[in-house]
Symmetry: C2
Subunit: 226 residues, 2 copies
Protein backbone atom coordinates (compact mmCIF):
# COMPACT_ATOMS: atom_id res chain seq x y z
CA UNK A 1 0.00 0.00 0.00
CA UNK A 2 1.52 3.34 -1.08
CA UNK A 3 2.19 6.16 1.36
CA UNK A 4 0.33 9.47 1.11
CA UNK A 5 0.70 12.80 2.88
CA UNK A 6 -2.60 14.29 4.09
CA UNK A 7 -2.98 17.94 5.12
CA UNK A 8 -5.16 17.70 8.22
CA UNK A 9 -6.51 20.86 9.85
CA UNK A 10 -8.97 18.99 12.06
CA UNK A 11 -11.93 20.50 10.22
CA UNK A 12 -14.73 18.71 8.46
CA UNK A 13 -13.20 18.80 4.96
CA UNK A 14 -9.67 17.66 5.81
CA UNK A 15 -10.94 14.93 8.15
CA UNK A 16 -13.19 13.57 5.40
CA UNK A 17 -10.25 13.79 2.99
CA UNK A 18 -8.19 11.64 5.34
CA UNK A 19 -10.97 9.05 5.36
CA UNK A 20 -11.15 9.13 1.55
CA UNK A 21 -7.36 8.68 1.36
CA UNK A 22 -7.56 5.54 3.52
CA UNK A 23 -10.55 4.23 1.56
CA UNK A 24 -8.46 4.55 -1.64
CA UNK A 25 -5.86 2.23 -0.11
CA UNK A 26 -3.11 4.67 0.91
CA UNK A 27 -1.13 4.60 4.14
CA UNK A 28 -1.67 8.15 5.45
CA UNK A 29 0.98 10.43 6.96
CA UNK A 30 -0.95 13.37 8.39
CA UNK A 31 0.51 16.86 8.70
CA UNK A 32 -1.03 19.79 10.58
CA UNK A 33 0.20 23.36 10.81
CA UNK A 34 0.48 25.57 13.86
CA UNK A 35 0.53 28.92 12.10
CA UNK A 36 -0.54 31.27 14.84
CA UNK A 37 -4.21 30.72 14.02
CA UNK A 38 -6.66 32.03 16.62
CA UNK A 39 -8.57 28.74 16.26
CA UNK A 40 -5.60 26.73 17.55
CA UNK A 41 -7.98 24.25 19.20
CA UNK A 42 -8.34 22.82 15.69
CA UNK A 43 -4.92 21.20 16.26
CA UNK A 44 -6.40 19.17 19.12
CA UNK A 45 -9.22 18.19 16.80
CA UNK A 46 -6.62 17.14 14.20
CA UNK A 47 -4.91 14.90 16.76
CA UNK A 48 -8.26 13.33 17.78
CA UNK A 49 -9.23 12.72 14.15
CA UNK A 50 -5.81 11.29 13.22
CA UNK A 51 -6.10 8.85 16.11
CA UNK A 52 -9.73 7.89 15.39
CA UNK A 53 -9.28 7.33 11.65
CA UNK A 54 -5.77 5.91 12.00
CA UNK A 55 -2.55 7.26 10.45
CA UNK A 56 1.04 6.02 10.23
CA UNK A 57 2.23 9.24 11.84
CA UNK A 58 0.93 12.74 12.55
CA UNK A 59 3.30 15.68 12.43
CA UNK A 60 2.48 19.18 13.59
CA UNK A 61 4.72 21.78 11.94
CA UNK A 62 5.06 25.22 13.45
CA UNK A 63 5.14 27.93 10.81
CA UNK A 64 5.59 31.62 11.17
CA UNK A 65 2.61 32.99 9.25
CA UNK A 66 1.27 35.24 11.97
CA UNK A 67 4.41 37.36 11.69
CA UNK A 68 3.37 38.38 8.19
CA UNK A 69 -0.12 39.38 9.28
CA UNK A 70 -2.85 40.34 6.83
CA UNK A 71 -5.59 37.96 8.02
CA UNK A 72 -8.23 37.88 10.74
CA UNK A 73 -7.17 34.28 11.45
CA UNK A 74 -3.63 35.25 12.43
CA UNK A 75 -4.09 38.81 13.67
CA UNK A 76 -6.31 39.14 16.73
CA UNK A 77 -6.65 42.88 16.09
CA UNK A 78 -8.75 42.07 13.00
CA UNK A 79 -12.28 40.87 13.82
CA UNK A 80 -13.68 37.66 12.37
CA UNK A 81 -16.83 38.64 10.41
CA UNK A 82 -20.09 37.29 11.88
CA UNK A 83 -23.56 36.43 10.57
CA UNK A 84 -22.79 37.14 6.92
CA UNK A 85 -25.21 35.89 4.27
CA UNK A 86 -24.03 33.37 1.67
CA UNK A 87 -24.14 36.16 -0.92
CA UNK A 88 -21.81 38.25 1.23
CA UNK A 89 -19.46 35.28 1.71
CA UNK A 90 -19.25 34.67 -2.04
CA UNK A 91 -18.68 38.30 -2.91
CA UNK A 92 -15.05 38.91 -2.30
CA UNK A 93 -11.88 37.52 -0.75
CA UNK A 94 -12.77 37.48 2.95
CA UNK A 95 -10.56 38.92 5.67
CA UNK A 96 -10.19 35.37 7.03
CA UNK A 97 -8.16 34.51 3.92
CA UNK A 98 -4.54 33.86 4.93
CA UNK A 99 -2.09 35.03 2.24
CA UNK A 100 -0.59 32.13 0.29
CA UNK A 101 -1.67 29.68 3.00
CA UNK A 102 -2.44 26.68 0.81
CA UNK A 103 0.74 27.28 -1.21
CA UNK A 104 2.79 27.21 1.99
CA UNK A 105 0.92 24.16 3.34
CA UNK A 106 1.31 22.24 0.08
CA UNK A 107 5.01 23.17 -0.09
CA UNK A 108 5.62 21.63 3.33
CA UNK A 109 3.50 18.62 2.38
CA UNK A 110 5.68 18.25 -0.71
CA UNK A 111 8.86 18.39 1.39
CA UNK A 112 7.39 15.78 3.75
CA UNK A 113 6.37 13.56 0.81
CA UNK A 114 9.88 13.83 -0.65
CA UNK A 115 11.45 12.85 2.68
CA UNK A 116 9.22 9.79 3.25
CA UNK A 117 9.32 8.78 -0.43
CA UNK A 118 5.66 9.39 -1.29
CA UNK A 119 4.24 10.80 -4.51
CA UNK A 120 0.68 11.40 -3.28
CA UNK A 121 -0.57 14.44 -1.37
CA UNK A 122 -4.16 14.91 -0.23
CA UNK A 123 -5.74 18.26 0.64
CA UNK A 124 -9.32 19.09 1.58
CA UNK A 125 -9.52 22.20 -0.62
CA UNK A 126 -13.06 23.01 -1.66
CA UNK A 127 -14.07 25.40 -4.42
CA UNK A 128 -17.79 25.48 -3.72
CA UNK A 129 -18.24 26.91 -0.24
CA UNK A 130 -15.02 28.95 -0.25
CA UNK A 131 -15.35 30.55 -3.66
CA UNK A 132 -13.63 33.66 -2.29
CA UNK A 133 -10.33 31.82 -1.70
CA UNK A 134 -8.30 31.74 -4.94
CA UNK A 135 -6.09 28.88 -3.72
CA UNK A 136 -9.03 26.47 -3.35
CA UNK A 137 -9.86 26.13 -7.05
CA UNK A 138 -9.19 23.20 -9.42
CA UNK A 139 -6.86 25.16 -11.74
CA UNK A 140 -4.72 26.13 -8.74
CA UNK A 141 -4.47 22.51 -7.56
CA UNK A 142 -3.58 21.32 -11.07
CA UNK A 143 -0.87 23.97 -11.31
CA UNK A 144 0.61 22.98 -7.95
CA UNK A 145 0.76 19.39 -9.18
CA UNK A 146 2.71 20.53 -12.23
CA UNK A 147 5.02 22.57 -9.97
CA UNK A 148 5.59 19.61 -7.64
CA UNK A 149 6.70 17.48 -10.56
CA UNK A 150 9.17 20.16 -11.70
CA UNK A 151 10.40 20.88 -8.16
CA UNK A 152 11.50 17.41 -7.15
CA UNK A 153 13.87 14.68 -8.24
CA UNK A 154 11.15 12.03 -8.28
CA UNK A 155 8.77 14.33 -10.15
CA UNK A 156 11.39 15.18 -12.81
CA UNK A 157 12.02 11.48 -13.38
CA UNK A 158 8.52 10.03 -13.27
CA UNK A 159 5.95 12.87 -13.36
CA UNK A 160 4.24 10.72 -10.74
CA UNK A 161 3.36 13.31 -8.10
CA UNK A 162 -0.35 13.73 -7.66
CA UNK A 163 -2.16 16.38 -5.63
CA UNK A 164 -5.50 14.87 -4.67
CA UNK A 165 -8.31 17.24 -3.74
CA UNK A 166 -11.16 14.72 -3.66
CA UNK A 167 -13.76 17.13 -2.25
CA UNK A 168 -12.98 20.10 -4.45
CA UNK A 169 -16.32 20.15 -6.29
CA UNK A 170 -18.55 18.90 -3.48
CA UNK A 171 -21.02 20.98 -1.53
CA UNK A 172 -20.75 20.97 2.25
CA UNK A 173 -23.82 18.71 2.44
CA UNK A 174 -22.22 16.25 0.01
CA UNK A 175 -19.02 16.23 2.07
CA UNK A 176 -21.00 15.52 5.24
CA UNK A 177 -22.86 12.64 3.58
CA UNK A 178 -19.58 11.21 2.31
CA UNK A 179 -18.03 11.52 5.79
CA UNK A 180 -20.99 9.72 7.34
CA UNK A 181 -20.80 6.95 4.72
CA UNK A 182 -17.09 6.51 5.53
CA UNK A 183 -17.83 6.32 9.27
CA UNK A 184 -16.08 9.58 10.21
CA UNK A 185 -17.10 10.82 13.67
CA UNK A 186 -17.78 14.45 12.74
CA UNK A 187 -18.21 15.34 16.41
CA UNK A 188 -14.42 15.13 16.68
CA UNK A 189 -13.87 17.82 14.04
CA UNK A 190 -13.57 21.57 14.54
CA UNK A 191 -14.44 24.25 11.97
CA UNK A 192 -15.04 27.53 13.86
CA UNK A 193 -12.75 30.50 13.14
CA UNK A 194 -13.43 32.18 16.48
CA UNK A 195 -14.01 29.51 19.13
CA UNK A 196 -14.70 30.19 22.79
CA UNK A 197 -12.64 27.52 24.51
CA UNK A 198 -13.49 24.46 22.45
CA UNK A 199 -17.03 25.64 21.73
CA UNK A 200 -17.92 26.92 18.24
CA UNK A 201 -19.15 30.53 17.95
CA UNK A 202 -21.98 29.63 15.57
CA UNK A 203 -21.72 32.94 13.68
CA UNK A 204 -18.51 33.03 11.61
CA UNK A 205 -18.56 32.02 7.92
CA UNK A 206 -17.16 28.60 8.76
CA UNK A 207 -19.79 27.87 11.43
CA UNK A 208 -22.61 29.09 9.18
CA UNK A 209 -21.47 26.95 6.23
CA UNK A 210 -20.98 23.92 8.46
CA UNK A 211 -24.33 24.21 10.17
CA UNK A 212 -26.16 24.77 6.86
CA UNK A 213 -24.33 21.71 5.49
CA UNK A 214 -25.65 19.46 8.26
CA UNK A 215 -29.14 20.83 7.74
CA UNK A 216 -29.01 20.30 3.95
CA UNK A 217 -27.56 16.79 4.39
CA UNK A 218 -30.29 15.84 6.86
CA UNK A 219 -27.65 14.85 9.40
CA UNK A 220 -27.83 15.80 13.09
CA UNK A 221 -25.21 18.48 13.79
CA UNK A 222 -22.90 17.21 16.57
CA UNK A 223 -21.16 20.60 16.97
CA UNK A 224 -21.15 22.10 20.46
CA UNK A 225 -21.95 25.81 20.17
CA UNK A 226 -21.21 28.48 22.76
CA UNK B 1 9.01 53.03 -7.55
CA UNK B 2 7.30 49.64 -7.15
CA UNK B 3 7.96 47.34 -4.20
CA UNK B 4 9.65 43.96 -4.65
CA UNK B 5 10.27 41.04 -2.32
CA UNK B 6 13.82 39.64 -2.53
CA UNK B 7 14.81 36.25 -1.12
CA UNK B 8 18.16 36.95 0.52
CA UNK B 9 20.26 34.10 1.90
CA UNK B 10 23.38 36.24 2.32
CA UNK B 11 25.23 34.28 -0.36
CA UNK B 12 26.79 35.57 -3.51
CA UNK B 13 23.84 34.91 -5.83
CA UNK B 14 21.06 36.35 -3.68
CA UNK B 15 23.13 39.40 -2.74
CA UNK B 16 23.79 40.12 -6.42
CA UNK B 17 20.07 39.57 -7.11
CA UNK B 18 19.24 42.24 -4.52
CA UNK B 19 21.59 44.67 -6.27
CA UNK B 20 19.98 43.85 -9.65
CA UNK B 21 16.53 44.43 -8.14
CA UNK B 22 17.55 47.90 -6.95
CA UNK B 23 19.23 48.67 -10.27
CA UNK B 24 15.94 47.88 -12.02
CA UNK B 25 14.23 50.54 -9.91
CA UNK B 26 12.39 48.46 -7.32
CA UNK B 27 12.11 49.23 -3.61
CA UNK B 28 13.35 45.97 -2.06
CA UNK B 29 11.81 44.13 0.89
CA UNK B 30 14.31 41.43 1.80
CA UNK B 31 13.33 38.13 3.39
CA UNK B 32 15.68 35.53 4.85
CA UNK B 33 14.87 32.15 6.29
CA UNK B 34 16.14 30.55 9.48
CA UNK B 35 15.44 26.93 8.58
CA UNK B 36 17.75 25.08 10.91
CA UNK B 37 20.61 25.31 8.41
CA UNK B 38 24.02 24.42 9.79
CA UNK B 39 25.41 27.48 7.97
CA UNK B 40 23.28 29.84 10.08
CA UNK B 41 26.04 32.47 9.96
CA UNK B 42 24.67 33.20 6.49
CA UNK B 43 21.83 35.02 8.26
CA UNK B 44 24.36 37.49 9.67
CA UNK B 45 25.74 37.90 6.17
CA UNK B 46 22.20 38.56 4.92
CA UNK B 47 21.75 41.30 7.52
CA UNK B 48 25.11 42.88 6.56
CA UNK B 49 24.28 42.76 2.85
CA UNK B 50 20.75 44.15 3.36
CA UNK B 51 22.23 47.07 5.29
CA UNK B 52 25.04 47.71 2.80
CA UNK B 53 22.91 47.58 -0.35
CA UNK B 54 19.90 49.20 1.31
CA UNK B 55 16.40 47.74 1.70
CA UNK B 56 13.07 49.07 2.93
CA UNK B 57 12.91 46.27 5.48
CA UNK B 58 14.54 42.91 6.15
CA UNK B 59 12.53 40.10 7.70
CA UNK B 60 13.94 36.85 8.98
CA UNK B 61 11.32 34.11 9.07
CA UNK B 62 11.87 31.03 11.18
CA UNK B 63 10.71 27.88 9.43
CA UNK B 64 10.65 24.35 10.62
CA UNK B 65 12.47 22.50 7.84
CA UNK B 66 15.01 20.73 10.02
CA UNK B 67 12.19 18.77 11.63
CA UNK B 68 11.53 17.04 8.30
CA UNK B 69 15.19 16.08 7.80
CA UNK B 70 16.52 14.58 4.61
CA UNK B 71 19.38 17.01 3.93
CA UNK B 72 22.98 17.48 5.03
CA UNK B 73 22.20 21.18 5.47
CA UNK B 74 19.57 20.58 8.14
CA UNK B 75 20.70 17.28 9.66
CA UNK B 76 24.11 17.43 11.34
CA UNK B 77 24.26 13.63 11.33
CA UNK B 78 24.68 13.76 7.54
CA UNK B 79 28.13 14.92 6.38
CA UNK B 80 28.57 17.75 3.89
CA UNK B 81 30.49 16.27 0.90
CA UNK B 82 33.98 17.72 0.44
CA UNK B 83 36.41 18.18 -2.47
CA UNK B 84 34.05 16.85 -5.15
CA UNK B 85 34.93 17.45 -8.79
CA UNK B 86 32.56 19.50 -10.97
CA UNK B 87 31.60 16.28 -12.75
CA UNK B 88 30.62 14.73 -9.42
CA UNK B 89 28.63 17.85 -8.47
CA UNK B 90 26.69 17.77 -11.74
CA UNK B 91 25.94 14.07 -11.56
CA UNK B 92 23.02 13.74 -9.23
CA UNK B 93 20.88 15.54 -6.68
CA UNK B 94 23.37 16.21 -3.88
CA UNK B 95 22.75 15.40 -0.23
CA UNK B 96 22.87 19.16 0.46
CA UNK B 97 19.59 19.54 -1.46
CA UNK B 98 16.84 20.52 0.98
CA UNK B 99 13.49 18.98 -0.01
CA UNK B 100 11.12 21.55 -1.55
CA UNK B 101 13.21 24.41 -0.16
CA UNK B 102 12.73 26.91 -2.97
CA UNK B 103 9.02 26.08 -3.15
CA UNK B 104 8.69 26.85 0.57
CA UNK B 105 10.83 30.01 0.30
CA UNK B 106 8.87 31.30 -2.71
CA UNK B 107 5.57 30.52 -0.96
CA UNK B 108 6.54 32.71 1.99
CA UNK B 109 7.85 35.39 -0.37
CA UNK B 110 4.47 35.27 -2.10
CA UNK B 111 2.63 35.68 1.20
CA UNK B 112 4.90 38.60 2.08
CA UNK B 113 4.33 40.20 -1.34
CA UNK B 114 0.58 39.82 -0.93
CA UNK B 115 0.67 41.47 2.49
CA UNK B 116 2.77 44.47 1.37
CA UNK B 117 0.93 44.78 -1.96
CA UNK B 118 3.80 43.85 -4.28
CA UNK B 119 3.63 41.79 -7.48
CA UNK B 120 7.38 41.25 -7.94
CA UNK B 121 9.50 38.58 -6.30
CA UNK B 122 13.24 38.14 -6.87
CA UNK B 123 15.19 34.96 -6.24
CA UNK B 124 18.84 34.17 -6.92
CA UNK B 125 18.14 30.71 -8.33
CA UNK B 126 20.82 29.56 -10.72
CA UNK B 127 20.56 26.64 -13.15
CA UNK B 128 24.19 26.52 -14.25
CA UNK B 129 26.24 25.74 -11.18
CA UNK B 130 23.50 23.87 -9.32
CA UNK B 131 22.26 21.67 -12.13
CA UNK B 132 21.55 18.97 -9.57
CA UNK B 133 18.82 21.03 -7.85
CA UNK B 134 15.52 20.59 -9.72
CA UNK B 135 13.99 23.72 -8.19
CA UNK B 136 16.65 26.02 -9.69
CA UNK B 137 15.65 25.62 -13.34
CA UNK B 138 13.82 28.09 -15.62
CA UNK B 139 10.77 25.84 -16.18
CA UNK B 140 10.32 25.55 -12.42
CA UNK B 141 10.47 29.33 -11.94
CA UNK B 142 8.01 29.88 -14.80
CA UNK B 143 5.62 27.36 -13.25
CA UNK B 144 5.81 29.04 -9.85
CA UNK B 145 4.94 32.34 -11.51
CA UNK B 146 1.85 30.74 -13.03
CA UNK B 147 0.95 29.26 -9.63
CA UNK B 148 1.39 32.63 -7.91
CA UNK B 149 -1.05 34.23 -10.31
CA UNK B 150 -3.63 31.50 -9.65
CA UNK B 151 -3.04 31.50 -5.89
CA UNK B 152 -3.72 35.16 -5.14
CA UNK B 153 -6.44 37.74 -5.50
CA UNK B 154 -4.18 40.21 -7.30
CA UNK B 155 -2.82 37.49 -9.59
CA UNK B 156 -6.32 36.28 -10.52
CA UNK B 157 -7.34 39.83 -11.42
CA UNK B 158 -4.24 41.11 -13.22
CA UNK B 159 -1.89 38.18 -13.95
CA UNK B 160 0.75 40.70 -12.89
CA UNK B 161 2.85 38.63 -10.52
CA UNK B 162 6.37 38.10 -11.79
CA UNK B 163 9.03 35.80 -10.36
CA UNK B 164 12.37 37.31 -11.36
CA UNK B 165 15.41 35.02 -11.41
CA UNK B 166 17.84 37.40 -13.13
CA UNK B 167 20.90 35.16 -12.66
CA UNK B 168 19.33 31.87 -13.66
CA UNK B 169 21.42 31.34 -16.79
CA UNK B 170 24.66 32.98 -15.60
CA UNK B 171 27.84 31.17 -14.68
CA UNK B 172 29.36 31.90 -11.27
CA UNK B 173 32.06 34.01 -12.95
CA UNK B 174 29.41 36.06 -14.77
CA UNK B 175 27.52 36.60 -11.51
CA UNK B 176 30.71 37.80 -9.81
CA UNK B 177 31.46 40.23 -12.64
CA UNK B 178 27.89 41.54 -12.48
CA UNK B 179 28.16 41.98 -8.70
CA UNK B 180 31.41 43.89 -9.07
CA UNK B 181 29.90 46.12 -11.76
CA UNK B 182 26.97 46.89 -9.42
CA UNK B 183 29.34 47.72 -6.57
CA UNK B 184 28.37 44.78 -4.33
CA UNK B 185 30.94 44.17 -1.57
CA UNK B 186 31.28 40.40 -2.01
CA UNK B 187 33.39 40.19 1.13
CA UNK B 188 30.14 40.63 3.08
CA UNK B 189 28.56 37.52 1.55
CA UNK B 190 28.71 33.95 2.82
CA UNK B 191 28.43 30.80 0.69
CA UNK B 192 29.97 27.93 2.67
CA UNK B 193 27.77 24.98 3.64
CA UNK B 194 29.98 23.92 6.54
CA UNK B 195 31.60 27.00 8.08
CA UNK B 196 33.93 26.98 11.07
CA UNK B 197 32.79 30.02 13.01
CA UNK B 198 32.45 32.60 10.25
CA UNK B 199 35.29 31.13 8.19
CA UNK B 200 34.54 29.18 5.01
CA UNK B 201 35.65 25.54 4.87
CA UNK B 202 37.01 25.86 1.33
CA UNK B 203 36.07 22.28 0.43
CA UNK B 204 32.27 21.95 0.15
CA UNK B 205 30.56 22.23 -3.26
CA UNK B 206 29.55 25.80 -2.54
CA UNK B 207 33.08 26.91 -1.57
CA UNK B 208 34.59 25.18 -4.59
CA UNK B 209 32.12 26.76 -7.03
CA UNK B 210 32.58 30.18 -5.45
CA UNK B 211 36.34 30.05 -5.46
CA UNK B 212 36.47 28.80 -9.07
CA UNK B 213 34.08 31.62 -9.98
CA UNK B 214 36.40 34.29 -8.61
CA UNK B 215 39.33 32.68 -10.41
CA UNK B 216 37.42 32.50 -13.73
CA UNK B 217 36.20 36.09 -13.34
CA UNK B 218 39.70 37.34 -12.62
CA UNK B 219 38.49 38.92 -9.40
CA UNK B 220 40.37 38.66 -6.11
CA UNK B 221 38.50 36.29 -3.78
CA UNK B 222 37.70 38.16 -0.54
CA UNK B 223 36.50 35.01 1.23
CA UNK B 224 38.17 34.18 4.54
CA UNK B 225 38.93 30.47 4.61
CA UNK B 226 39.60 28.32 7.69
Amino acid sequence: MPKAVVCLSGGLDSSTTLAVCKELGFRPYAVSFAYGQRQHVELEAAARVAKAIGVIEHRIITIDLGQLGGSALTDTRIEVPKDRSEAQMGDDIPITYVPARNTIFLSYALAYAEVIGSTDIFIGANAVDYSGYPDCRPDYIACFEQLANLATAIGRTTNAIRIHAPLINDSKAEIIKRAVALGVDLGLTHSCYDPQGDLACGHCDSCLLRSAGFRDAGVVDPTRYA
